[in-house]
């Protein structure tokens, strides 16, 4: 049990430091255009990287993943809200998996 608690503490401390250090060390507004552009690109690049191709294999069958992703892309492009897109994707996957 002590081993379990210690492991969790190690995980928690490492995770917190990773989040905290950049925020505390860099408090000034950055002026350099390239650095600013870099940081502006990070959000969409990191989200795209995490989503693809993982979204295709997160369901119990690849086909439901592909169809669910296509539906999410379609409605996401239509600028529908986050909740709407999430719910539509979940329902689509559920329906498709009834037929597989």
């Amino acid at each position: 049990m002590t081993q379990a608690i210690m492991s969790i503490v190690v995980m928690a401390v490492v995770t917190y430091l990773v989040r905290m250090l950049p925020l505390v060390l860099f408090t000034k507004k950055i002026e350099n255009q390239t650095v600013k552009s870099f940081l502006a690109y990070v959000p969409c690049v990191v989200l795209a990287t995490m989503t693809f191709p993982a979204i295709f294999s997160c369901t119990s069958h690849w086909l439901s993943g592909v169809i669910g992703a296509s539906v999410a892309i379609f409605f996401g492009y239509q600028k529908r809200s986050l909740v709407e897109v999430a719910i539509i994707a979940v329902v689509t996957v559920f329906i498709v998996e009834r037929f597989i």
């Binding site: 969790i8 490492v14 990070v42 990191v46 990287t49 997160c58 529908r80 709407e84």
Partner: protein
Amino acid sequence: MKKEYLQGLHDGIPVAIGYLSVSFAFGMMVQQGGYSPWLALFISMTNVTSAGQFAGFNLMMQMAPYIEIAMTTLIINLRYALMSLSLTQKFDEKMNRIKRAICAYGVTDEIFALAMQRDGSVTMSYFMGLFTLPYIGWATGTFLGAWFSGLLPDAIASCMNIALYAMFIAIILPQARAEKNKRIAIVLAVICSCIATYLPISSGWAIIGITIMVSLFMAIYFPIQEDEV
């Protein structure tokens, strides 16, 4: 202040719902590993990360050395450092270091994405508002998952997995539609990410490597103009 907090609470609702279902799966996993729901709750409340705590928990069950657990957690979660770095530019300039250190606890993929979406700068009240319900959802879902393990049919658990990814798509596509540069960046990222699955590197390293390479490439060759940043 209060208005900002309430706005944050409101904006965090979809993430809270997503977290509730994802953490439910985590709770089930901990319970099946032979640990108590309280331990599951402890992990979720102290770590607040999805992939990081799934991987860390697996190592913990195998009695892996602490250094290995630390390194794995570091690699999988290093992307948070990039997110925090982006957030330094988004946070209200008046926010002091102590407040920043408190907000740091709430930096997750989804909270980060929502905070960056907000017009203008982000205050501590708004950020903590964003974080509140997802944190409760993450903790509650974990506990319930461990408590009622097996109650949620696999058929439903499977389709819940897509919820957070679908949300990411809903965040990046409107940006892709509005800005050509973002469109190029996203296409590049997706191509690299698909190629990376065939390389012998962990997904944690792949995410960090691709994010740095693609963002750097775009920043150098397609810098974003002053007023757009």
